[in-house]
């Protein structure tokens, strides 16, 4: 147990955007990798760069929502769009109905505590017709509810519950939003960056397990 603390209490890594051009990794090394693009890249220290994604669908979306579409890029061959949280439900519905993204693979979030809108909420969609994946991303402020897409894809039921459980993101319109992996009365949302790795809800442990602490 004593040696546990050492590796675990590492400071929370800052968000990528806030990162000062961190020193380049030893060498991306694979011969074809763009190792040369090193010195003063604005925000990206090294490696491949997201390229703007230009496709018919993106143009249609941009035309319809204007500045609601904040970014549409391709990174390592994977497409993603960043959209405003107010229109995300519309966009997702459009993705499903108009652009044949009929399959929701995953709903997940990333926490960047230092950002103004600390949560990235990500939907990973897949289209059987086009054999194509796309990530739809939106930024959320702490406590700001996200729209539930349960109506569009029933599969998101548990995935949204897990997001709520782990990050505390509330999904509006979800039929039964409650914790899924942790006990219902648990306090805290473990995948937030401020939640320590050995941290537990000692009170809950105390009451329900009858021991001092889970550690």
């Amino acid at each position: 147990m004593p040696d546990d603390a050492k590796g675990n209490d590492q400071p929370v890594s800052p968000a990528p955007s806030a990162k000062p051009a961190a020193e380049k990794p030893a060498a991306p090394s694979a011969p074809g990798a763009p190792a040369a693009a090193k010195p003063p890249m604005p925000a990206k220290p090294a490696g491949p760069v997201p390229e703007p994604w230009d496709a018919e669908m993106v143009r249609a979306l941009k035309q319809r929502y204007g500045s609601g579409i904040k970014e549409a890029s391709v990174y390592l061959g994977q497409k993603y769009v960043v959209v405003d949280s107010s229109i995300v439900l519309d966009i997702l519905r459009g993705m499903r109905d108009d652009h044949q993204f009929d399959y929701c693979v995953d709903v997940t979030a990333v926490h960047y505590p230092k950002r103004e809108q600390p949560f990235d909420l990500i939907w990973i969609l897949y289209s059987f017709h086009k054999n194509e994946r796309i990530r739809v991303k939106t930024l959320l402020a702490d406590g700001q509810p996200a729209p539930s897409v349960f109506e569009l894809w029933p599969t998101t039921d548990w995935l949204e519950r897990e997001c709520f459980d782990m990050f505390g993101i509330k999904f509006e319109g979800h039929p039964d939003l409650k914790r899924i992996l942790l006990p219902d009365e648990w306090k805290g949302h473990p995948l937030r960056k401020e939640y320590g790795i050995i941290q537990q809800d000692n009170e809950w442990v105390n009451i329900n397990l009858g021991i001092e602490s889970g550690q």
Binding site: G7, P16, A26, V110, R133, L191
Partner: protein, 386 residues
């Protein structure tokens, strides 16, 4: 989906509350699990029953939650590798493959061809092992106790190959970021070929015991039907989706490793019932054997590790990479902030998503079917709870 139940506690109040007269047995709330012989670990299913008919279910999961995603944020990329084996512990090799390939993609490197072949052989062996374990336990759930022992005996041969290859049988940690850490041992090819020859008649034997057996057919046909559109809406993947008639396999749709070099078919079902899922998995075992025998013939020489820096520091960025694990689409969503530790690792667990379909599949069925359907979904609670 879970509109039958508001919350777990209210269930008990309804059940034990003093209201209602004695023997007022309209509905019965049955707590199946977490200690139950056929919930495959620590799944708890609350069944709302009318006699033996299921009116609704609610799954309570999380008993095996270990916070794998949180652990990932506090380990380096290399250190996290053994942990992924512990999610779907019956298909540890597939988990490792998915993670290693995701990180490789993030690093923008590619494993050398020999490593890819070894990966394919081991992963396909793992698919067979996982399906064998599934078949044994599924048959046990339905009451046939003997297939379990036959499948475990045959799975043992796979585990022996693993043990010789990487030193562990279950949580193998066989792959490293950039390739495989081990060169094949002497006689690896022979062992694999021998295994293929050994297991082919054994699969026929499982079929002899079950496929035409009238009790097995009655117990599985028409049980837990999931139609294609339903399956897609519910997000199920893997054999469950394919049994519903959707011909979709990531090995074909978006080939990873070196799957495009092999000739194999995607078995699909017609009705999406438990029997079809059984047939699909049996056929998949045979297809895996096909892939293995092709791969072991063509396995090229060369290095087994790509040039990977000692300290793995992927550039800032995020990646989603998924593979076809034995249970379905296993995805890793990794966010890198440029440091040695992943900023966020999200695992898209196939069992977790597939388990959601349970409620839809067992409504109106009998208690015995719940057991059959839990078995046919092929869940591993280590992966559901992570």
């Amino acid at each position: 989906m879970t509109d039958v139940t508001k919350s777990t506690t209210s269930f008990y109040e309804e059940d034990t509350g003093k209201t209602g007269t004695f023997l007022d047995a309209n509905e019965l709330i049955l707590n199946m699990g977490p200690q139950h012989p056929s919930t495959h670990g620590v799944l708890r299913v609350i069944l709302k029953l009318d006699g033996e008919k299921v009116l609704g279910t609610e799954c309570i999961i999380g008993y095996l939650h270990r916070g794998v995603e949180k652990i990932a944020e506090n380990r380096t990329y290399t250190m996290f590798n053994p942990y992924v084996d512990r999610m779907d512990y019956v298909a540890a090799v597939s988990n490792g493959l998915g993670y290693c390939e995701a990180v490789e993609k993030l690093l923008n490197i590619e494993a050398p061809p020999r490593a890819n072949y070894i990966r394919v052989i081991l992963t396909e062996l793992n698919r067979i092992a996982s399906h064998q374990l599934w078949l044994g336990t599924h048959a046990l759930d339905i009451g046939a106790i003997t297939p379990l022992f036959y499948t475990f005996r045959d799975r043992e041969e796979i585990l022996k190959i693993y043990e010789k290859f990487c030193g562990a049988r279950l949580t193998t940690h066989a792959f490293r970021i950039g390739g495989c850490s081990y060169e094949t041992y002497d006689g690896f090819e022979d062992n694999v070929k021998k295994f293929v020859k050994f297991v082919t008649p054994k699969i026929d034997e499982y079929e002899e015991l079950l496929t035409t057996n009238r009790i097995w057919v009655e117990r599985t046909k028409g049980v837990g039907i999931l139609s294609g559109p339903d399956a897609i809406a519910l997000g199920v993947t893997g054999p469950v989706l394919r049994a519903a008639g959707v011909k979709w396999d990531l090995r074909k749709a978006q080939p990873y490793a070196c799957y495009k070099e092999f000739d194999f078919e995607i078995p699909i079902g017609e009705n999406g019932d438990t029997y079809d899922r059984y047939l699909v998995r049996i056929a998949e075992m045979r297809q895996s054997l096909r892939i293995i025998s092709q791969a072991v013939e063509k396995i090229p020489d060369g290095p087994i590790m790509a040039k990977v820096p000692k300290v793995i520091k992927p550039p800032v960025g995020e990646i989603y990479h998924s593979i076809e694990a034995p249970k379905g689409e296993l995805g890793y969503f990794i966010v890198s902030d440029g440091s040695t530790q992943p900023y966020r690792v999200r695992v898209r667990p196939p069992s977790f998503v597939n388990l959601q379909a349970l409620d839809k599949m067992v409504r109106g069925m009998l208690v015995a079917d719940v057991v059959a359907v839990i078995g046919t979904l092929d869940i591993v609670l280590g992966e559901v709870d992570r």
